[in-house]
């Protein structure tokens, strides 16, 4: 229901607000995934955390554009694996980190936040950490999930 409502909202506003004439004078925002959030190898029964400062394993998406934008994450609550097995995922309030040049700001990925990109800022790098909680009897194998990031430009 929520997904339908959101799709309806976005569909309606997207159709209304993305008329070709409306975007004149603005640089469209672009989200470019550059690195998966990779927990690597998990031992059954042993929680594994990837910090948002872990340059090797944290997830990363780059936000390019100009202006002010609201960013929202849709976070999965589990990784899906073989035979329908699941590894619970938890995202803490400090698992988000965004960076523009040398400035870094932590954020709660469960909450929307705002980024302003100045014309000379190039881009914002948005990082995501998290914690995986494999059970003691967790079936072996590869597990995956997808985080969706959405931005809504709210100002110039």
């Amino acid at each position: 229901m929520r997904g339908w409502l959101l799709a309806t909202l976005l569909g309606a506003f997207g159709a209304a607000l993305l008329e070709p004439g409306d975007v004149a004078g603005q640089t469209p925002f672009l989200l470019v995934p550059t690195q998966p959030l990779d927990f690597g190898r998990l031992a059954p029964g042993v929680p594994a955390r990837v910090a948002s400062t872990d340059v090797v394993r944290r997830g990363e998406v780059r936000l390019q554009g100009e202006g002010t934008t609201s960013v929202v994450f849709t976070l999965p609550d589990h990784l899906a694996g073989p035979g329908g097995a699941r590894v619970p995922l938890v995202f803490a309030a400090d698992d988000g980190l965004w960076q523009i040049r040398n400035r870094q700001v932590r954020f709660d990925p469960a909450q929307p936040f705002t980024i302003r990109l100045n014309p000379n800022a190039d881009e914002a790098r948005i990082f995501l950490g998290g914690t995986a909680l494999p059970a003691p009897g967790q079936p072996a194998g590869r597990y995956t999930a997808t985080v969706t990031v959405m931005t809504v430009q709210t100002g110039t």
Partner: protein, 167 residues
């Protein structure tokens, strides 16, 4: 997405100043992990042939028979169970060797498998559970009466190794 986040996005869209535009962009970040294979063998107890007969073959049924040594295999994926360093003889007093054939079987919860010689056996066990699976591995064997007749009295022993390997 939480209701709070949903309304925040909706509000963000609604609060776009007149004359400006709102643009949506989406991206995805993949999340990956690989859960390692886990397996263990637990349990104690020997294959016990007891006092050997010189007139009848001495047999221990590995499928849970009297004198069988039982071990519990626990695993979170598909595994193969094999046996290494399987002795063909048991060592006795003054270097005496007593011929033995060690046989193995397993019970994965559906009943005991047929017994086979441990030295060549490979038990392929699949984990179809969303969790740990267990199986019982039994070891027994046979010492023929003829073999007993040709060795000195005394205590004889040997050992083998159970190997559990993730597939």
């Amino acid at each position: 997405m939480s209701r709070k986040a949903l309304f925040a996005v909706a509000a963000a869209v609604l609060l776009v100043p007149a004359g400006a535009s709102a643009q949506l962009a989406t991206g995805q970040v993949n999340v990956t992990a690989t859960v390692d294979a886990y397996a263990s063998i637990t349990g104690t107890g020997d294959v016990e042939f007891g006092s050997l007969s010189r007139v009848a073959d001495n047999v221990v049924d590995p499928a849970g028979g009297a004198g069988a040594a039982l071990r519990t295999a626990t695993f979170n994926g598909d595994v193969d169970i094999t046996f290494s360093s399987v002795p063909a003889t048991l060592s006795g007093p003054n270097g005496a060797a007593l011929a033995v054939t060690l046989n193995c079987a397993y019970d994965d919860g559906t009943g005991w498998s047929a017994a086979s010689e441990c030295s060549t056996a490979t038990f392929a066990l699949d984990n179809t559970l969303a969790g740990l699976a267990t199986a019982t591995v039994g070891v027994g064997g046979e010492i023929t009466a003829a073999a007993v007749q040709s060795v000195a009295a005394g205590s004889y022993s040997g050992s083998l190794t159970i190997v559990i390997t993730a597939r």
